[in-house]
């Protein structure tokens, strides 16, 4: 077992073990905190696919995160009020159905955004993905039907067959299971023909084109899959907070997702998990000490970007697998 695999295993066990212990000790707050870690990590796993493997610096993944969240919120609200969605299609509070819808919606929105954004590269790509996310953000704010600026509260958490989702621990286990499934998918994509081509496209698009594979299509697929995973996380996040609002779509969220990846280690399997753990811990610990925690978070982040390249996993497990 390589050093990185050992670190990964330890991180996974900590994330699974800590809430089990917390639940046994009767501290549901820490279970919720761990759920937050799992969901943010899942969102970042999605972004890591585009950013880490494909080198696509999307600054607009909050759009997909928020879309997943709004799908969950809108479906639950309609179901709660007993209104059909449109054309008589009934809404639902079943999590698997909501997840599927959220993932599909995120993917469908990602395709046109990706198709336009991927015509450009470098700084243009960063700014265009940012601009598209802002477009959806402003739409959510100015569209009054689903709460506008105030967002949308869900009175109860949606249902998963056979699990009582209202309790913190079962909901954590659902999120943890989804996170593990996403990590497996990431590992699978990384080793697949698609993943190999994607990494080749990051290293040298021209060479990839020369061997007969169009980088554009590969990147578009990766962008869409990445958006779908992040959308899934958005749906889980909405259920975690029983609230969805425009802040999920804001550019701060996109920035935070990038921060998670950098804190943990770009392009590494467990990078987003490590990053989410550090981020939520920092938020919790600093937030407990001072109201000005964002100031110190900024300083720490600046220090990491300037001096500790490779993130936590780079520190713990040495040489990066991806340069």
């Amino acid at each position: 077992m390589s050093r990185e695999s050992t670190v990964n295993l330890v991180l996974g066990l900590i994330l699974l073990g800590a809430p089990l212990v917390a639940a046994a000790l009767g501290e549901p707050f820490y279970v919720t905190l761990a759920t937050r870690v799992a969901v943010l990590a899942l969102a970042a796993v999605g972004l890591n696919l585009a950013l880490g493997l494909g080198g696509l610096l999307s600054f607009g993944h909050a759009a997909f995160f928020g879309l997943g969240g709004y799908v969950a919120g809108i479906l639950a609200t309609h179901a709660f009020n007993g209104e059909p969605l449109f054309a008589g299609i009934p809404a639902t509070t079943s999590m698997p159905l909501i997840w599927a819808t959220g993932v599909i919606v995120a993917g469908l929105v990602a395709l046109p955004i990706g198709a336009i954004s991927l015509r450009t590269s470098g700084v243009y790509f960063i700014m265009i993905t940012l601009a598209f996310a802002q477009m959806i953000y402003y739409f959510a704010i100015s569209w009054p039907a689903y709460g506008g600026e105030d967002g949308l509260s869900m009175s109860v958490r949606n249902a998963f067959p056979g699990v009582s989702t209202a309790k913190p621990l079962p909901y954590f286990l659902i999120c943890f299971a989804v996170l593990m499934a996403a990590l497996l998918l990431f590992r699978f994509v990384e080793g697949s023909r698609l993943g190999t081509a994607l990494q080749a496209a990051r290293q040298n698009g021209t060479r990839l084109a020369a061997v007969g594979i169009a980088p554009f299509n590969i990147r578009l697929v990766a962008f869409a899959v990445s958006a779908m995973i992040t959308g899934f996380a958005g749906a889980l996040y909405a259920d975690l907070n029983r609230f969805v609002g425009p802040s999920m779509l804001s550019w701060h969220m996109s920035g935070e997702l990038m921060v998670l990846i950098i804190l943990g280690g770009k392009g590494r399997l467990f990078g987003p998990v490590a990053g989410a753990m550090i981020f939520v811990l920092l938020e919790h610990v600093l937030g407990g000490i001072t109201e000005r925690w964002q100031f110190f978070l900024g300083l720490i982040l600046l220090g990491i970007v300037l001096f500790a390249r490779g993130g936590l996993l780079g520190l713990l497990s040495g040489k990066p697998r991806h340069v």
Binding site: V123, L130, A131, M135, F139, S142, W251, L297, L299, L306
Partner: protein
């Protein structure tokens, strides 16, 4: 009456455009010369507004406040360039985005620390209070006209600076070949600091000018920053001319969209519905325009040759 309203909205669009130009010119200059994407540019805008409001409040003079805003923004710009930004020039864009994102957190929270969470207010200077009559009836705020004037003056000034002076020559040389001008004996480090401070001063000026129209508060820079990104993407990153054209397009399209879309839609649907749908569509309009422009010209209208 409709013509007067139309002219008023056009002028409002122009005023927004000019403001965006002040922001976008700095961003595009910094990207063109140093290859740096600077998210913290909105924070410099905020610093300019806070400096102006504080100093104008203390001295009672808007003009001293304006000078303070330029000095403060340029000063903070120079400090962060030397302390942080300088280490980022040869890093990839991801590191630049994250480091300047961290700077936003630090500067915003620092500002809240110093000035508190309550917004500050800045009065329009007495000379520029009042309104001018518009052709076709109606009145227009003199101060907004003055902002348009300042924007045009800055555009002309920047053009002269870059095409006629020694500093401008060095900036252009830095854009096309930075090793070469270093080899020719120009202190490239100082040049970068000067360019960054110049961009920061323009952002600070924009913040101070707008501070008299809206409240001065933490986070005011971020929406403007993103609009400025849209501007430089439309105009072509690195091109000042592109920034000017892009800024006017974004300013006018955004303002006219908000003004005209609801009334256009009300021809086809009930008024209440038209207002909400119109407002929602208008808020997305500039991004649609940007997507259209990029679909035909992926590197903007006036892409810099490099």
């Amino acid at each position: 009456m409709f013509t007067a309203l139309l002219i008023e909205q056009l002028l409002n669009g122009l005023q927004l455009g000019v403001m965006l130009f002040l922001m976008a010119a700095g961003l595009t200059l910094i990207f063109g010369v140093m290859g740096l994407i600077n998210l913290a540019h909105g924070s410099l805008y905020m610093i300019g507004a806070f400096a102006c409001a504080t100093v104008a409040g203390a001295t009672g003079s808007f003009w001293i406040g304006l000078i303070a805003s330029l000095t403060a923004a340029a000063g903070v710009g120079a400090i962060i360039e030397v302390a942080v930004i300088r280490r980022l020039y040869d890093r990839d864009h991801l590191d630049q985005v994250l480091a300047t994102f961290a700077l936003i957190l630090i500067l915003s929270e620092g500002c809240r620390w110093l000035f508190g969470s309550f917004p500050l207010y800045l009065d329009i200077p007495p000379v520029l209070q009042g309104a001018v009559p518009l052709p076709g009836g109606g009145q227009y705020q003199l101060y907004r006209l003055a902002i348009i004037g300042v924007g045009i003056a800055v555009a002309v000034g920047l053009y002269l600076l870059i095409s006629k002076t020694r500093l401008g020559m060095r900036i252009r040389a830095g854009e096309s070949d930075r090793e070469m001008i270093g080899a020719l004996g120009v202190d490239i480090g100082t040049l970068y600091t000067v360019v960054f401070a110049l961009g920061a001063a323009l952002a600070g000026l924009a913040g101070a000018l707008v501070g008299a129209l809206q409240s001065v508060q933490v986070g005011m820079g971020e929406p403007v920053l993103i609009l400025a990104f849209v501007v430089i993407v439309i105009g072509g990153i690195g091109s000042i001319k592109g920034a000017l054209v892009g800024a006017v397009i974004v300013g006018v399209v955004d303002t006219m969209g908000r003004f005209l879309l609801p009334s256009l839609l009300s021809l086809a649907m009930p008024a209440a519905q038209a207002t909400t749908i119109g407002a929602a569509l208008a808020s997305m309009l500039i991004y649609v325009v940007m997507a259209l422009i990029l679909a035909f010209r992926p590197s903007g209208l006036f892409a810099a040759q490099s």
